[in-house]
Symmetry: C2
Subunit: 404 residues, 2 copies
């Protein structure tokens, strides 16, 4: 992930040289090798997960090394980790010290994975831990000894490199559980509301809305008085959101879903959606419902539709089927990809600092995450455990603790 | 269509009061009634086309009345005119003076047409003719007596109202055939190139590229040195473009289409497409080919794809099937609707004047349109003629002449 944006929050935490040297001196020695979870797709159509012993990386200029205390198992991690393999057929092998799990990948999935065949990959988008080493640069060195939430792409290991711009220094007393999901979900949820304002919309739609991220978004929108239409797939998910005080909850398993959605959209005046599903007809249903909510029943017919722009950003791929757009929503529409990193890259420093400060200030309230299971690297390769977190069941959330 | 933009080209043609009065005096009397083609969808699932005698409209403040000399039969007109009826089953009725054609509409199509059931609609997006009356306003009055290309929404009739902002005064000596398509296609083609520049792309893709519009776009791109990848559906269409000197032509009926497209995109560095088809998998093929052209074969695997934004604007609906997006193109992508009128509305006055001046200057070269058939309003309701223009065959283009 290319990082080009500036960050002045880390500057606020810049330490005097003497204090930096003291911290460095009190830190534990970094071992030469470490354990790391790795994911490999073989040309024979097999996923191979392993806990390998690898060289501990050394931070180059402008990077820090984090001793990883905890890392969340998010849907976005599972895509890379499991490569859409059939985990119901997972088989354990390897030794107790170096466990291995293999699982078959279907031929149709393999055709989408050619670029990663034979390339053993590190896994884990984000995590939390202590900065134990820094390459030469003031931004990196200023973080020495601090507990940070970070994005690094290899957080399922004992140590992980990160860029200071992708580290969020945590307030004193923050636990590993508080900090593990302090970067991606909080800034993604805030980024959605920022995007809404930047692009001139006044209400939001969110799918897979009962997720940890969705719950954060609900708390932000309630605090900021932003109308939010929550779309879920099951009654128990709807209940989670209603218990949180959500005003608009539409359950796609209900026969009245489309009418419910139009009614909610008409009331919320929401013309921007963030969609984690990204397959099937949901994007289309949202755009058509937005158009139906905008156009009055007695409006004259227009083959061009309304002139109100309706936008859906797809930020996930929970459903791997193609997106099907049934166009009854006129010509004022857009569908596109949305990711956190490019959003951060195009956000100016002052706005970024404001967003990051809010995350730090509201870490255990607005941005609290809850985990049902804490597992070690080795437990992550236990077949039954793996099948459980692969299911992504509502209400279940796994936290990986690489030091265990 | 809401019009909010200013226009200073008409101001250049503003006439002194005396000359205006002289022109008004020499103009033929406007008759109280006129013939107009109308399209009706009945609740019983029938399309009913008729040539009705209706009151000639009187221009309110800020509008002009054009005596229509010629109007093109474009794909965008056929959508409204024919309402996706099965014209192979068209039946003529009515009288010689007031012909009527009816054709059945399938139940699935009807469900998309509920908003226009029972509403008799005027047809014809654009045309050319002489301004014979003007509502009180300097912009409208300045056009009195001038031959203009115009957009009015009812050009398939003897007279049609238009806004001065949607009129393009034609150079002296321009024929009806020169002027009939002087607004929509020329400004759409120029709008595509403007959009490319405004959004930071340096090359274009165009589908249904052998159309009149596509041929204009080829001439513009060759003059402006813009790499243009033309996508067509048949070998004879490919030949039309090669004869025009097009460098990149990809025929989707060829077995090598996808590879051809990747190679052309790699060379042209085109990351923006304008698509007239809008159904099936073409949008997806373009995005996937763009991504394949961007990512080198030996690049490391990234589940997020390249960070180069790939955009497809859909401006037509030649294929009524859903758009199917098979996402192998990462997260830096967008698909959206594009229409001329909103583009004009968001373009500032100086840029608009520049575009319109170019159309006037190059009316018989870059922006030349060719017609194979000239028909009257009554001939438009001749069943065999109707079936011919409904087919939209390559190389065939109909011009409606309402005064015949």
């Amino acid at each position: 992930m290319a990082l080009t944006f500036a960050d002045d929050l880390t500057a606020r935490h810049r330490l005097p040289k003497q204090e930096r040297d003291e911290r460095r001196a009190t830190m534990t020695e970094v071992p030469a090798t470490m354990r790391q979870l790795r994911s490999l797709v073989t040309a024979e159509g097999e996923l191979r997960l392993s806990v390998d012993t690898v060289d501990t990386p050394k931070p180059a200029a402008g990077l820090v090394l984090v001793r990883v205390e905890a890392a969340p198992v998010n849907p976005s991690d599972l895509g890379l980790l499991l490569a859409m393999a059939d985990v119901s057929k997972a088989v354990a092998s390897g030794s107790e010290d170096a466990p291995v799990v293999t699982a078959p990948i279907s031929a149709s999935v393999m055709s989408a994975l050619t670029a990663r065949i034979g390339k053993s990959m590190s896994v884990g988008n984000e995590g939390t831990g202590v900065v134990v080493a820094a390459g030469p640069s003031p931004d990196a060195e200023s973080l020495l000894g601090r507990t940070v939430g970070f994005v690094g792409g290899a957080s399922y290991g004992e140590y992980c490199l990160a860029s200071p711009q992708m580290c969020l220094p945590l307030p004193d007393g923050a636990s590993a559980s508080d900090g593990a999901s302090s970067f991606v979900n909080p800034l993604t949820a805030l980024g959605m509301v920022e995007t809404m304002r930047n692009e001139g919309h006044t209400g939001l739609v969110h799918t897979a809305a009962a997720s940890n991220l969705g719950q954060m978004l609900n708390r932000i929108c309630q605090a900021d008085d932003v109308p939010l239409v929550n779309i879920v797939r099951r009654p128990e998910q709807a209940q989670i959101l209603r218990d949180l005080g959500a005003r608009y909850v539409c359950d796609s398993s209900e026969p009245t879903f489309e009418a419910d959605l139009v009614a909610a959209l008409r009331d919320a005046k929401a013309t921007l959606a963030f969609d984690a599903v990204g397959g099937g007809q949901l994007v289309s249903q949202i755009l058509n419902a937005m158009e139906a909510a905008i156009v009055p029943d007695d409006a004259p017919y227009s083959r061009y539709g309304s002139d109100v722009h309706k936008q859906v950003y797809v930020y996930g791929a929970l459903d791997r089927r193609p997106i099907e757009l049934h166009r009854r929503f006129g010509f004022a529409w857009g569908v596109g990809g949305w990711l956190l990193t490019p959003f951060l890259a195009r956000t100016d420093a002052a706005d970024l600092a404001r967003l990051r400060q809010r995350v730090a200030d509201e870490l255990t309230t607005t941005f609290a995450s809850h985990y049902t299971d804490q597992i070690s690297l080795h437990q992550a390769l236990d077949v039954q455990t793996l099948q459980r977190y692969a299911r992504q069941a509502t209400g279940e959330k796994f936290l990986l603790e690489p030091q265990r």
